[in-house]
């Protein structure tokens, strides 16, 4: 089981869209896939038309008092399941602070699923906190959406430093440009220049596209309702690069009907 996390300190940069679409592509490739919507806002849960409710809430889950298998839900995408969001996740920092080895706790919560899933994608809330540190410890790969703006780049640098300094078991960082608007000069310039500075930035670029915005309307991943659109193709490219970087076997994407 490989654990990936879509993460950024900033909000509204395309974490959930990436998590949901990459998970759908993983399932399409035949990988048994789970998304854990860690964000109490529950956007991923909403997109999968599932109620943002987990019996026992964050507390029981983190302490191991609830059976993780019992709170999973199948999504409309075959082979893709969800551990839904719950409003109690807003207190997850406090719950983690109350247990032994808090930074290793999320990995421990996921451990019973090791034989059931090939890929787990954690959709993280925007912050840097104990939850983030626990995510870093659990993840094999950190997928970082990067909106090509100066402030985003600054935040990304801080993230790289934090992970390098604080985390024992460093995940592979896979950064990608997100919400790119090629009509904007700054976007074009940063997209052209930054990969030379940061080796963790991959080639795939997620555009600022109407299809992505319409996910909320369709309540489905863009790769399922508009699989031939530019956004879906961009997520497909991102998924393939992610697999290569993380060492996931995905050399032969399936034929599309």
């Amino acid at each position: 089981m490989r654990v990936l996390a879509t993460y950024n300190i900033k909000g509204g940069v395309g974490k959930t869209s990436a998590a949901v679409n990459l998970a759908a592509l993983a399932a399409r490739d035949g990988l048994r896939t789970l998304v854990w919507d860690l964000d109490p806002q529950g956007s991923a849960t909403f997109l999968f038309r599932i109620k943002p409710k987990v019996r026992g809430g964050a507390s029981d889950l983190v302490r191991g008092d609830s059976e993780i298998h019992d709170v999973l839900k199948g999504t409309d995408v075959e082979g893709l399941d969800l551990l839904p969001a719950d409003f109690s996740y807003r207190h997850m920092d406090l719950v983690l602070d109350d247990v032994r080895r808090p930074t290793r706790r999320l990995a421990k919560v996921l451990a019973p699923l090791a034989d059931d899933y090939d890929v787990v994608i954690l959709d993280c809330p925007p912050s840097i906190s104990l939850v983030s540190e626990s995510v870093f410890e659990a993840a094999d790969g950190l997928l970082v959406p990067l909106v090509p703006t100066t402030l985003s780049v600054r935040t990304f640098e801080r993230l790289l430093k934090f992970v390098a300094a604080q985390v024992d078991r460093r995940p592979e960082i896979v950064a990608f440009f997100s919400m790119v608007d090629r009509r904007k000069r700054l976007h074009r310039e940063l997209v052209a220049e930054l990969p030379a500075t940061y080796a963790s930035i991959v080639d795939a670029i997620i555009p600022s596209a109407t299809d992505v915005e319409r996910m909320g309307l369709h309540r489905a991943p863009v790769v399922t309702f508009a699989p031939n659109g530019a956004a879906a193709k961009a997520y497909d490219a991102l998924w393939r690069e992610t697999c290569q970087r993380i060492g996931l076997v995905n050399e032969h994407p399936p034929d599309h009907p």
Binding site: L72, K73, G74, D115
Partner: protein, 531 residues
């Protein structure tokens, strides 16, 4: 994973379609029709039907990209597993699958055997999403219109089915859907799997081709005829496995072929007092020749199959040993070419035709009243042979001590094989409680003797490769690593030898002796009056 109910399949009555589903579920669920699709599935199994025996269904799709096709395994109580795999000459080998759950499961189920196409089914599908008030799919139904694709290319229609699949976390919706659908259709779950129905429609045997002997002998049957019946079945096994051996589909074809030949030779040897014709004498020579020409390939198959275990136990760097592995593979390729030539030769054809003719004769003896002096009943001869070989083994084994040469253990193993074949071929005439305990202790003993001898044979073989290895690129590194391999083999041989006494004791015990001498007397054979 928490238990998820297995999918339910229903055979649908004539005219029951998506509209019928909507009617059945209306008022309880929303029904969402997805675009229909059609695709072909090629169902897979090993030659000997291991998937069928394990109750699992494996299929591959026909569409390929770069020679890779999706392979899916379904079994009760588990979620379906899918991965992409290369198809080489129409077959799939589990070890070619990418790392993952499917590869692990298929490797365990197939035990090295290739998965071959059994039947091709075309399925027109109408997916129906059963949704709750939020439009969330809570159960999946697929209406399937399957047809079996016959070798002629003609598609023969099968029965329409509805496949109802649960969605994780929505067990109650699944139960409700199944109940409503069952009530609407008017029948319970399906009576046979799709693959079974397709195989039957295509007049194909379900469950693969067995290499089990399974000849039920009458203890009073004359021994020559009984031998003929056994050998005829063994000849069928040889013939069934010959094409797969020649095509080199997997190593088990050759293995099963050789076992059948060895068993045949065993029958001819044990029953030699009643099989005295010149034809049988010639068959003995021919079968010995077949055994000899197939031996080198099998020996190399064994070396290559045990390779990873050997490298691990020797703690030798796999890279250093790569040259040796390549050498073994090259030798195997050469040995196979020689073997294939022999098995396709006129000599083989002639020998086999003659043997088949003699078998027809043997199987008919005693059927006509004027067949001359009848041979002894098979139970009497078999009982005498079992007792005799057992006694020889106890005598040989009792004389073995720490100072005995390896040849003594080899001799004992040969006798053990003889006894094993006698019990496998003729043991069915006695009640299981008389035969099984003897087979068990013999098996334990043979395992130890086999480990000892196989280790020695393997070490000798590898040592003999030394000169060739030394001149190969990377050879010196391989030679050093080979030292570790030989050490590991020697250590295992020592361990086997130390275990010998412990395994021999129950075999030679008074209890086992009584089983052989008394329990396997001819008059105790099944259907006879017990003394």
């Amino acid at each position: 994973m928490a238990p998820v109910p297995d999918p339910v399949e229903l055979i649908l009555p004539e005219g029951f379609d998506a509209h019928g589903v909507r009617q059945a579920l209306g008022g309880h669920f929303e029904v969402d029709l997805a675009p229909p699709s059609s695709s072909d599935r090629v169902f897979l199994d090993t030659f000997d039907g291991r998937m069928h025996a394990a109750g699992v269904t494996v299929w591959r799709e026909v569409r390929t990209r770069s020679g890779q096709v999706p392979v899916t395994l379904e079994e009760p109580g588990a979620r379906p597993m899918t991965a992409r795999c290369p198809v080489v000459a129409g077959r799939i080998v589990a070890s070619d699958l990418p790392d993952g759950a499917l590869r692990t499961r298929l490797r365990a189920l197939s035990a090295g055997r290739a998965l071959l196409s059994t039947v091709r089914v075309r399925i027109d599908r109408q997916p129906v999403g059963v949704c709750n008030g939020d439009g969330k799919t809570v159960t999946r139904i697929v209406i399937e219109d399957p047809s079996v694709v016959l070798p002629s290319g003609v598609a023969a229609p099968l029965r329409r089915r509805a496949r109802i699949t649960p969605v994780l976390g929505y067990g109650r919706a699944f139960a409700r859907t199944t109940k409503l659908m069952t009530a609407a259709v008017g029948v319970d779950a399906v009576d046979e799997t799709l693959v079974a129905e397709a195989m039957a429609a295509a007049h194909l045997p379900v469950g693969g081709v067995s290499s089990k002997v399974g000849v039920d002998l009458d203890p009073d049957m004359r021994a020559d005829r009984a031998s003929g019946l056994l050998c005829r079945r063994l000849a069928e096994i040889v013939e069934a496995n010959l094409p797969g051996t020649l095509a080199d589909i997997d190593t088990e074809f050759l293995h099963d072929l050789r076992v059948a030949v060895r068993r045949t030779r065993s029958v001819l040897k044990e029953m030699d007092s009643v099989l005295t014709s010149a034809e049988v004498a010639r068959a003995r020579d021919d079968l010995k020749w077949i055994q000899a020409v197939t031996g080198p390939t099998r020996d190399l198959d064994v070396q290559l199959e045990g390779w990873s275990t050997l490298v691990t136990s020797a703690r030798a760097p796999a890279d250093d040993l790569a040259v040796l592995h390549e050498l073994l593979e090259a030798r195997r390729a050469r040995a196979f070419t020689v073997m294939r030539r022999a098995l396709r030769s006129e000599r083989f054809d002639h020998a086999w035709t003659s043997w088949r003719r003699e078998l027809d004769h043997l199987c008919a003896v005693g059927v006509e009243p004027d067949d001359g002096e009848p041979a002894a009943p098979v139970a009497e001869l078999a009982s005498a042979r079992i007792a005799s070989v057992y006694k020889k083994m106890t005598k040989l084994g009792s004389a073995i001590d720490d100072g005995s040469p390896p040849e003594d253990l080899h001799d004992l193993r040969k006798r053990g094989k003889e006894l094993r074949y006698l019990l496998e071929l003729f043991g069915g005439m006695w009640p299981g409680k008389a035969v099984t305990p003897l087979v068990d202790v013999l098996k334990e003993l043979q395992d130890v003797l086999g480990r000892f001898q196989d280790g020695q044979v393997q070490a000798t073989y590898l040592r003999d490769l030394g000169p060739e290895l030394a001149t190969a690129p990377g050879g010196p590194d391989a030679l050093i690593a080979l030292g570790g391999v030989l050490d590991a083999l020697a250590a295992d041989q020592r361990l086997a030898r130390e275990t010998f006494a412990k395994r021999f004791a129950p075999f030679a015990s008074a209890k086992t002796r009584a089983l052989v001498i008394d329990g396997l007397r001819p008059e105790r054979a099944r259907g006879r009056v017990t003394a």
